[in-house]
């Protein structure tokens, strides 16, 4: 399963996986927006470019998802498809250049859920498994 939601009393824990860390980051983003709208209802008409960074993979993950939440408000768009390219600076900082595709929120077509307020450090992990990568984090609803 590329992403799933894990029980958390007040908020929501999401777990995403992919063959590569980059793929897992894209799945985590899909999970984040799936909480707010079913991905199949989002047409890929517009895109925004996203830059995120972090000294660890975990912190990069939070930065990436937080950037996407900010872009949701700034552009009024919901996103459903993501592409990322990852690089590492000479001092070890992970730098991500990404593209998020989606469209402006339209309540006549989008069956919206609760808005995600933020991405926390709770239960946060990035793990390399035999079959790829797994990301977990708790988001505040």
């Amino acid at each position: 399963m590329p992403f799933e939601f894990i029980d958390h009393t007040a908020d929501m824990a999401l777990r995403a996986s992919g063959a590569s860390f980059e793929e897992a980051l894209c799945e985590a983003a899909r999970a984040l927006f799936a909480l707010m709208v079913p991905p199949e209802q989002v047409a890929l008409r517009e895109h925004v470019e996203i830059r995120a960074s972090g000294t660890t993979r975990e912190l990069l993950t939070v930065d990436w998802l937080a950037e996407l939440l900010a872009q949701k408000d700034l552009t009024g768009c919901l996103f459903a498809e993501f592409v990322v390219a990852l690089d590492r600076t000479s001092d070890g900082v992970y730098v991500l250049d990404g593209i998020a595709r989606g469209e402006p929120l339209d309540r006549r077509r989008h069956d919206v859920g609760a808005e995600v307020k933020g991405v926390s450090y709770a239960g946060l992990h990035v793990r390399e498994r035999d079959d790829g990568w797994e990301i977990q984090c708790v988001v505040d609803l």
């Binding site: 009393t9 908020d11 937080a66 700034l74 307020k117 933020g118 926390s120 450090y121 239960g123 609803l141």
Partner: protein, 479 residues
Amino acid sequence: MFERIGDAEWQIAPSGAMLVPAVVFADREMVDELQRDEAGSEWSALRQLRNVACLPGIVGRALALPDVHPGYGFPIGGVAAFDVKDGVVVVGGVGFDINCGVRLLSIPLSADELGERAGLADALFAAVPAGLGSKGSLRMTVSEIDRLLREGAAFAVGRGLGLPEDLPVIEESGCVSGADPETVSERAKQRQFRQVGTLGSGNHYLEVQRVDELFDPAAASVYGLDAGQAVISVHTGSRALGHQIGQDYLKIMGEAGRRYGLPLPERELACAPVDSDEGRRYLSAVACGANCAFANRQVIAHLVRGVLADRYGVSPSSVRTVYDIGHNNAKRETHDVDGVRRELIVHRKGSTRALGPGAEDVPAAYRSVGHPILVGGTMGTSSYVMRGTPDGMRRAFGSGVHGAGRALSRKKAAKKYWGEDVLSSLHASGIELRAHSLRGVAEEAPGAYKDVERVVAAAEDAGINRRVARLRPLVVIKG
């Protein structure tokens, strides 16, 4: 593990890295539940409370109130006070929805006089922007946003959105001092442009309620509440501005904590010394977020007054603000600790202030009984007005419960309940619900929450809060 030290007060003695005891105000069943969760779940409020008890400079005891449940880092329903000189300020102790809280408005009509409720529900639903992506009608420039962050509710009143007499009956008169907009990122301000005067989603709501029962008629009379009267509760927070402040400072404080070499039990408890540049800037940003939330509830109160004037011909000034209080805050306060007056930063995550009779920061009109505590229920049950006690001032840093507290996760609730069913069962019991998200309705079904009656009873048994009045929902507006 727990030692019972009062009627509804349980203590865990410090062990390991805990610097102070952890104390839970709860009934026995709640305590048993907390212990079961600690043994069996990845997310445990008790484990989070013990972690809070390990943070540098914590004073007295780490507290959990009866509505406690797991949060991120800090438990929701958690209270912790830190010394201003050698303590820390913790991002998770405030959370992403800074000064999320409740405003209570009284209407000069009885619940019976409201008449047909469906029309009232439709009118409120149309007037108050709610739900994902909703936009407020207030348009502002960057410099106006800065003024809003400095001035709070008074900014909205100055724009003709509300009445000057609202201000004294808002916590801290609707304006937390020390709010420097320079400590808030441009991005946070940009995200907020379209969101002033919006309700949001999730557990936020607007309810028309009936004052169902008075438990403390003398205090109710001081608050101007009568049995049978109609009131309106608005539960919302600082919207995207608060969310972005939380996100920005989680990163800043996470790095600061490492730089200052703070011994942190969990990364999620990102914090910095109160007496540091990062700590001071965060507290200023929290003050900005708090003022944004006060202004937000002020604008919504204005929209509600417009609906009531249209429908019932009641004047805006006859729709009175009873009180407005937040439940996600870190505030600079002075408390007696073991007979010594100490200046503290009191974190309340999912907990209100509950300043008792005679406390200086209580509005003059309410000083004889203490200010109201506004306790949100669920859309099918009840909300409560409570008040603080002298005992609560001594034993709980003057703190109160904030709501029923979740019992079921959103995932479990969405599986168990169906939005349409919740709507029709509420309708059958006389409650008109209007919501933008049926998925949200299922997640917020009354059965997903603890029994608010037990929560308020435990707070009263513990002696920290007193019941004043119970409010029953008639109309519910959700995002």
